[in-house]
Each structure stands twice: as C-alpha cells, then as structure tokens.
Symmetry: C2
Subunit: 101 residues, 2 copies
C-alpha cells in the first residue's frame, strides 16, 4: 500500500499565528512518537500573516486516523480550535515517491 499524505492549510485568527504554530509544534512532538508517522512539518505561508501549512506523511491512512484518537493530540486540537478562522482545507494524498522520505 502507498504511504498516506496530507497537505493541510490552516488559517489563524489575526495575530494568533505564532501561538497556533506553537500548538502545532507540540502536536508534531507527540505524533512524531506515534507508530507510522514519517513526516509532520509545520510551515508559515509567506504570502500572508495568518496561513499555516502542515505537510504529513504516514505509513498508511490508518496510522493517521489512530493518531487523532490520541489523548494528547485531542487536547492540542481543542486548544487550537479557538485560534482558527474557519475550517481547515487541504488534500488527502497517496504518496508516490521522491526524495527525502
């Protein structure tokens, strides 16, 4: 089975991006220890002051889905929710290959 990937775009409330990113970096530390997490990278969009992109690669979709049930992950999601301006967007992906994974 191909690996599972996500490119997700999150938009923060004005002035809240750095705080939001701090929570996502905490999430990265948690999910990085979970089975099947190969990549979880947090990025600022250079085009504005509110957008954040997260790149994720997992062994498979199940490993990703299981991570969302982790207590620490759920707590961090709850902490981040009030900082979000709208629903997350993004794509669910089948990882074909490339360099660096």
């Amino acid at each position: 089975m191909d690996m599972y990937g996500m490119c997700g775009k999150l938009v923060s409330q004005p002035g809240q991006r750095d705080k939001f990113i701090g929570i996502l970096l905490s999430a990265a530390r948690v999910v990085g220890q979970l089975p099947g997490c190969r990549l979880y990278v947090v990025n600022k969009d250079l085009a504005d002051e509110v957008s954040i992109w997260v790149m994720e690669i997992w062994d498979d979709k199940n490993a990703h889905d299981v991570s969302l049930k982790n207590e620490q992950v759920r707590s961090l999601i709850a902490e981040a929710m009030p900082l979000m301006a709208g629903a997350p967007e993004g794509a669910s992906l089948s990882v074909v290959g490339g360099h660096g994974i």
Copy 2:
C-alpha cells in the same frame, strides 16, 4: 534563516496523471542530488484522477531557485508542460519545524 518549503498543486490533462508523475519522479531524482534539497515528494490527490501535489523543503529559497536553472530540471519541465491543465497553484513557505526533517 528558516528553511524554504513549497506545497504545489499540479493538475494534469485527463488520463495523463501517471505520465506526469513519472516525469516528476525523474525530477525528484535530479533535484535530490542538488545542494540544499531536503524533501521532494510526489503525491496523487485521492479526491480525483488528475491532481498531483508536490511537497518540497530546501535549505533556503536560493537553493530552490538555483535548481530551476539546472539543465535536466529545465528539460523535465519542458516535457511536463503539455501534460498540464492550467497553471500550477500552491504556497511558498517558511519551514518552522516538526518531525521528519
């Protein structure tokens, strides 16, 4: 300086995604040998039959820009152009951190 990232979405002409992906995997082999390329991953969008996402992480924006002047990369871009249905979309990013890089 933060690392430089890109999340790019490319849409292929109908029926041409696999051929397009083959070219991008060739590009990954080339850029993976260039200075500063940390990640270049090619993905199929699970939502349709034509969309492709490329995740890139470079030491800095200059390393990425230099890669576009590489002869092999330019040749592969020229090969891919007729397979594209419209201009690429995506985001230029400042990589903050996370797991797996």
